[in-house]
């Protein structure tokens, strides 16, 4: 068609998706909210991978970050606080054709959702889990979250958070059957994009810990990392998150880290003097529950009827 050689036309996909095809309308986060960055990164990834919008399942819990699905043109599931992961697993269980993404907050995932967080890691079904960590409860207007820094004042702990924060990436690395953990920051869109691309390419549950700015309730909380890029440690490896020149120029502090090395990943994960970003860990061999859950899918109707009849006959008098 259009005078192209016939072999070429085979390469032309039936539909071509532009960014607009993933646009779900005006996103209603506060001005300057880090969540916008993730939205455009994911839209770009979908466009680049040419995922048809109807094949996307964007799942979330409740929180500012969990508004994410509303701003994508895609199938979306804006569920209950803390419960995004069980829903996402249920979706994936019998719909391997769907591209499942989860948007969850530090409260949603690590506080009320903590049990599911650990178990989703065990199940290791194929999906990308973006943990938007603004270190505070945003939607409910500034309460302490498990990632709130010690001493940071919130409405429930005006005298400062009582306990040291948990680190999302470090904690995930301790979970059973963990197969992919990366960390990135909302304020470096290139690294964010590349990290999510890497996560998306992984088959299994890819946890991405994203430091997300919340100018409204936790402004300046990441200033130590933002204002001093030298305190960021850029992980690189041929199997890791590819870092382009710009990113390498910004983050001069770099370390070669083999993402198969779990012990090293754990040592690197906990932020201290430095904050490591990039791929911390990846194990492509970790067993996946979705490989088991799909068994029997597409069994023909007649065959199913026959199987059911056989089951019933077991109870015949």
């Amino acid at each position: 068609m259009f005078g192209l050689p016939s072999e070429w036309s085979l390469d032309v996909p039936e539909r071509y998706f532009t960014l607009e095809n993933y646009d779900g309308g005006v996103a209603r986060w506060c001005p300057g909210c880090g969540d916008f960055a993730m939205l455009s990164a994911v839209q770009r990834i979908c466009r680049d991978a040419q995922v048809p919008p109807e094949k996307l399942a964007m799942v979330s819990g409740i929180g500012c970050s969990s508004r994410f699905p509303h701003y994508m043109h895609a199938y979306g599931f804006h569920g209950l606080h803390g419960r995004a992961l069980p829903v996402a697993c249920g979706i994936k269980s019998r719909r391997p054709d769907l591209d499942v993404w989860v948007a969850t907050g530090d409260g949603d995932c690590c506080s009320i959702g903590a049990g599911h967080w650990l178990h989703a890691s065990r199940y290791n079904m194929d999906m990308v889990v973006m943990v938007f960590d603004n270190s505070v409860y945003g939607l409910t207007k500034k309460q302490t979250s498990p990632t709130t820094p010690l001493g940071f004042s919130t409405n429930t702990h005006p005298a400062g958070a009582f306990l040291p924060p948990l680190d999302v990436a470090a904690t995930t690395l301790g979970f059973p059957n963990v197969s992919f953990v990366a960390r990135t920051v909302d304020w470096n869109p290139v690294h964010l994009y590349q990290t999510l691309v890497t996560a998306h390419a992984h088959r299994g549950t890819s946890f991405v810990h994203i430091l997300q700015r919340c100018p409204t309730y936790s402004a300046d909380i990441f200033d130590e990392w933002r204002k001093d890029p030298d305190r960021i440690l850029l992980l690189h490896h041929e199997e890791g998150v590819p870092a382009d020149d710009g990113v390498r120029r910004t983050y001069k502090n770099q370390r070669l880290h083999d993402p198969r090395d779990l012990a090293a990943a754990r040592a690197l994960a906990t932020p201290g003097e430095q904050l490591a970003i990039g791929l911390l860990y990846r194990n492509p061999e970790a067993p996946r529950l979705d490989e088991i859950s799909v068994r029997g899918l597409g069994t023909a109707r007649e065959r199913r009827l026959a199987l059911i009849e056989r089951e019933i006959d077991r109870f015949a008098l």
Partner: protein
């Protein structure tokens, strides 16, 4: 009558002639692990195959391995069989076979035996080496006799020793042989059954157990001083025999449900034990989630993605699912929720029966959550109502709750083999493009119904949410959107309600007393009504299967009776209790619904003893509640 046993010579007739009776209730009780349940099931199956109506109920101890010879440790089975269909556990047992005397105490406390019950009791304890045990045994036997039980002491284990070295695990089949002889059942049928049940354990096991059956037969002929006959008529149609939980599991298969997500909880777990093998075998997936919340979340995810799923639970698990049930109602996600009720509140009585979750099913969620709630009354209905539930869930885009109970769960009975209809299977999710311009909640103003886009359908992209939303699934906080959504969801129940037909009373069309029930009590209530009608009383019963929406025509039916009362297995204040009067009485759950619904002064009788009701007990209650005819009552009025 059948051929004499292969082994064992014919002895002097040692008893009166075989007595023909309409029905018998037999229990086998023992310490746990002695195979009493297997024996009862085998004998029950033999009876069912011959064409008796049969109902078996497991007797389950509270502990996993209670100590031997303990009162609370009674483990076993009750088999009620008759010359007509049997729908409930009945009353006192006619015959009990017991492997020790202590376990009988537990059953006596439960009211399972009384004067006239014959007990075939293992006698070896009389000569036990421990004096304490010998004394216990003698005392108990004297005790039982003083209470009117007819105790026949028999050396059961000793008789088995001739065949097997450790009779502890073999005497159960010996008892099957005895029972077959006592009731004149075909010995070959029993031997076939042993082969069917034990076949996969190898020929030697089968041979030994068949030999035990034969020995039991011979032993009974010689030592049991009575014999009964319960007439049987082979069924014309093919029959299935199973318990209610297996029926639910089969119903799930027959409904074409591919995903079941659950978390273990008594007495619902055995559905998943069945499905653990059967669901994958039929091409589906059983997910044992990390908890009940995750289980229903997983099921909702699968349902939303086009594979209408099922979650199964009981009381405490239902409580945990409360939030997600509200979500599924709000977001209009089809879902089948099976709740096998147990004794409550809280952890309560995990293995015992109660019908205490009716109001929680209807009203447990904050806010207005109209959903469909149905309750099978029989084991057969456990099967069919799952099929129905899946279809209602999809048609009405809503969760459907199926309420069964521990009584149905563990009761075993036969019913006609359903002819599986391909239309019962859930259809494959629609993969065609979504029609342009149609909103994701394209509510029909009359019925509230709408079709739903399924992920993968091009052009149907939308975001489902538990927040108030418009037809376009957009979050909306304006006053009218929420009102419209609530209206539409409620309207669906009205639409479904309009398709239902009024239930038909069992017994008198009008009269003095109408007993209303729901769930597993139907058989016992109807049998009670039959008894009273045989006495000439103008009573009837009505059994409800749809609790939400409520079945139509109730007020009209109630109006035909002088008094209406519910019979339920849940809590109500005893009207005689201190501080309680009609104005301050907490009533049984269905009674509350019916009062609100009809404004008829519906009374109730209910208990929370964890026991299924027998027909005699219900008949007694109804008799007590018969309202005196108007002439008499006028005199009584102030």
């Amino acid at each position: 009558m059948t051929a004499p046993p292969a082994s064992g010579s014919v002895t002097e007739p040692r008893r009166a002639a075989r007595v023909a009776v309409d029905e018998r209730i037999v229990e086998i009780v023992s310490d746990s692990g002695e195979g009493a349940q297997k024996a009862g099931q085998t004998f029950g199956t033999v009876c069912a195959k011959l064409g008796n109506g049969v109902w078996t109920v497991e007797i389950i101890p509270a502990e996993i391995k209670p100590p031997a010879r303990s009162r609370a440790g009674a483990s076993g089975i009750r088999v009620r069989f008759a010359n007509r269909p049997v729908t409930n556990r009945g009353e006192r047992a006619h015959l009990a076979v017991a492997f020790n005397e202590q376990v009988l105490y537990g059953r006596i406390a439960n009211g399972a035996y009384g004067p006239g019950t014959v007990v075939l009791l293992e006698s070896k304890w009389a000569d036990d080496e421990q004096e304490e045990i010998r004394t216990q045994y003698r005392d108990a036997v004297a005790d039982f006799r003083a209470h009117g039980l007819e105790v026949v002491e028999l050396p059961l284990e000793a008789a088995c020793l001739e065949v097997i070295p450790d009779p502890r695990v073999g005497k159960n089949m010996f008892v099957v042989g005895m029972l077959c002889e006592i009731f004149g059942r075909d010995l070959d049928k029993a031997l076939d059954e042993v082969r069917a049940v034990l076949g996969r354990k190898g020929p030697e096991v089968v041979r030994l157990n068949q030999e035990l059956v034969r020995r039991g037969w011979a032993f009974a002929e010689r030592h049991v001083p009575f014999a009964w006959d319960v007439a049987a008529q082979a069924a014309l149609e093919p029959q299935l025999v199973m318990n209610g939980n297996q029926a639910l599991g089969l119903g799930i298969l027959a409904a074409g449900i591919e995903v079941v997500a659950m978390y273990p909880i008594t007495p619902a777990t055995s559905v998943s034990h069945y499905l653990g093998r059967a669901l994958p075998a039929a091409g589906g997936f059983l997910h044992q989630a990390e908890d009940e919340i995750a289980a229903i979340g997983f099921a909702i995810g699968a349902s939303w993605a086009g594979k209408t799923a099922c979650t199964i639970t009981s009381g405490p698990g239902l409580a945990l699912k409360t939030e997600f049930i509200g979500f599924a109602t709000m977001a209009e996600i089809p879902l089948v929720i099976i709740n096998v009720q147990r004794g409550g509140p809280s952890t309560g009585l995990p293995t015992k029966v109660e019908q205490g979750d009716l109001l929680a099913a209807l009203y447990g969620q904050p806010g207005d959550t109209p959903k469909v709630v149905i309750a099978p009354a029989t084991i057969e209905e456990c099967f069919h109502m799952v099929v129905l539930a899946r279809r209602l869930a999809e048609e009405f885009r809503t969760p459907v709750m199926v309420l069964t109970d521990a009584n149905l769960a563990t009761g075993v009975s036969a019913f006609p083999r359903p002819k599986i209809d391909a239309a019962w299977l859930a259809p494959e999710p629609d993969r065609s493009a979504w029609p342009e311009g149609v909103a994701p909640y394209d509510w029909d103003a009359e019925t509230g119904l709408s079709a739903r886009p399924i992920p993968g359908q091009r052009g149907g992209e939308y975001v489902v949410t538990g927040l108030a939303h418009t037809r376009k699934a957009k979050v909306a906080y304006d006053p009218e959107s929420n009102q419209e959504g609530c209206d539409m969801r409620s309207r669906k129940l009205a639409a479904l309600g309009r398709t239902l037909v009024p239930p038909v009373p069992h017994g008198a069309a009008s009269g003095d007393l109408l007993a209303v029930g729901w769930g597993s009590t139907e058989g016992a209530i109807e049998e009670a009504v039959d008894q009273l009608r045989a006495e000439g009383l103008a009573v009837a019963s009505l059994h409800l299967r749809f609790l939400s929406p409520m079945e139509p025509g109730l007020a009209e039916i109630f109006a035909r009776f002088r008094k209406v009362m519910t019979i339920e297995i849940n809590y109500s204040d005893d009207p005689q209790a201190p501080l309680v009067d009609p104005r301050h009485r907490r009533r049984a759950q269905l009674a509350m619904l019916l009062r609100e619904h009809t404004l008829v002064d519906v009374d109730c009788w209910s208990t929370v003893r964890g026991q299924p009701y027998g027909p005699g007990e219900i008949a007694e209650v109804l008799r007590r509640n018969l309202v005196a005819p108007p002439a008499a009552s006028k005199r009584g009025a102030a």
